[in-house]
Symmetry: C2
């Protein structure tokens, strides 16, 4: 049984506490969420685990999972006392070495977008693991398997690439959705006019791959349509449109 | 009964011929696909409608639907003889006026991405209609309703904005998928590591809207992570990453 404390209950921390609480309550549980800590001392709605009040006086446990923003991982690591407890961070872009103060350290990276409201189904994810030793890896495997059937080892040197790809897949895709929604809104056109296209774009890319799926004015270098689109946009959005169009044009050659 | 001929059997034309053939075979059919024309005289696989050999000697019909690339619509319109036949184009970015040679003219715009292999479910789409007269509109409605329960009138002045938004939603989103896939491939990481993220990104944007869904280094102006990502990219992809990051940063203010 691995006794766990979670530090930080933002988007990921909240979801992780809820998933670990659920995993803890199973008859054959291999993990137990002892509780969580956050700076603002905010309770997670509907989660019955304990909220601890001091980060430097946490109860003894087997694993502390740090779910703070990336730039706070280092500071939290420093504040946690040295011990045999496994200290784990969950950041795609932060190296395992940042936890070097701690003898037993690891990473549990879940390539997904989290927010407090939408329940994330961890079981659909491949949980990416890295550790300072084989023994730590085994503990991470136990925690990972309580969340998902799919795990893979992934060193920091590759995890940063996966995180970069995740930014394209989520942040950048979502921004394209936003720009489309803004165009429709300014014309008083309902957003749902393009919902089927959003879905088909995803399904098509999953089936055929993104390269075979590409169509449109940038790919076919249709200067007339591109110019007509640019004329509809403000300067900032023109720059964005041009940049993505150039990138598509270059990708598909002549 | 509206007798239809389709000109051009690229991605959209092929799908439309197949959907119209299916609609033609229903017991209560209101449309009939007489056949189609394409320059290369290529048969549509599994479609039993006739392939006509000369565009300027098509049989008499009620409606000709032009599914050529945008820049060919004008030329096709010129080549078609003047008559009472309704001439319709299907292009998001082309004005209805391009068909001015023809007394009865219209637009059937389906905001979707088409290719020959994947069957598109027209019934999920809102078909956008524009016409030169009320009588023509009624005919378009009949054709539109044979394809989908959802139709809306949409003038050329607004259709071009919908088309622009569709480019963001499809071409640009798909390009982000491609860039992510390239990053993974170069690291020999399996593409399916990010499939759950692709799906959740869509679901989240549909549920919460794209603005509320945004997260990540660009939104939180995390200069450290942005610089670390840029260091992993070649010059062309750096430019793309910077441009989208700037746009996100500007969107979410300070």
């Amino acid at each position: 049984m691995i006794n766990i404390i979670v530090i930080g209950t933002g988007n990921l921390g909240t979801q992780l506490c809820n998933a670990l609480e659920k995993a803890s309550s199973k008859p054959d549980a291999t993990v137990r969420l002892l509780g969580y800590y956050n700076r603002s001392q905010t309770l997670i709605p509907k989660n019955k685990s304990r909220l601890f009040s001091k980060m430097d006086h946490l109860p003894s446990c087997d694993m502390i999972i740090v779910c703070t923003p990336d730039d706070a991982v280092s500071k939290v690591s420093e504040q946690l006392p040295s011990s045999d407890t496994i200290i784990v961070h969950t950041s795609g872009s932060v190296h395992l070495d940042i936890l070097n103060k701690h003898k037993n350290r690891g990473v549990l990276y879940m390539p997904q977008t989290f927010n407090k409201e939408r329940t994330v189904h961890f079981e659909t994810l491949t949980i990416c693991l890295e550790s300072s030793s084989t023994a730590v890896y085994e503990s991470l495997e136990i925690v990972g398997s309580s969340l998902s059937r799919k795990r893979t080892p992934l060193p920091s040197t590759q995890r940063k690439y996966l995180h970069l790809a995740a930014v394209f897949t989520n942040n950048f895709v979502n921004h394209c959705y936003l720009k489309a929604a803004e165009v429709l809104e300014k014309q008083d056109l309902p957003a749902n006019l393009l919902h089927p296209l959003m879905k088909e774009t995803l399904e098509k890319a999953l089936e055929l791959g993104a390269q075979a799926s590409q169509t449109g004015p940038a790919k076919r270098k249709d200067a007339y349509t591109i110019a007509a689109h640019l004329a509809l946009l403000n300067d900032a959005d023109k720059a964005l449109y041009k940049s993505i169009t150039d990138s598509i044009s270059n990708t598909y050659g002549n």
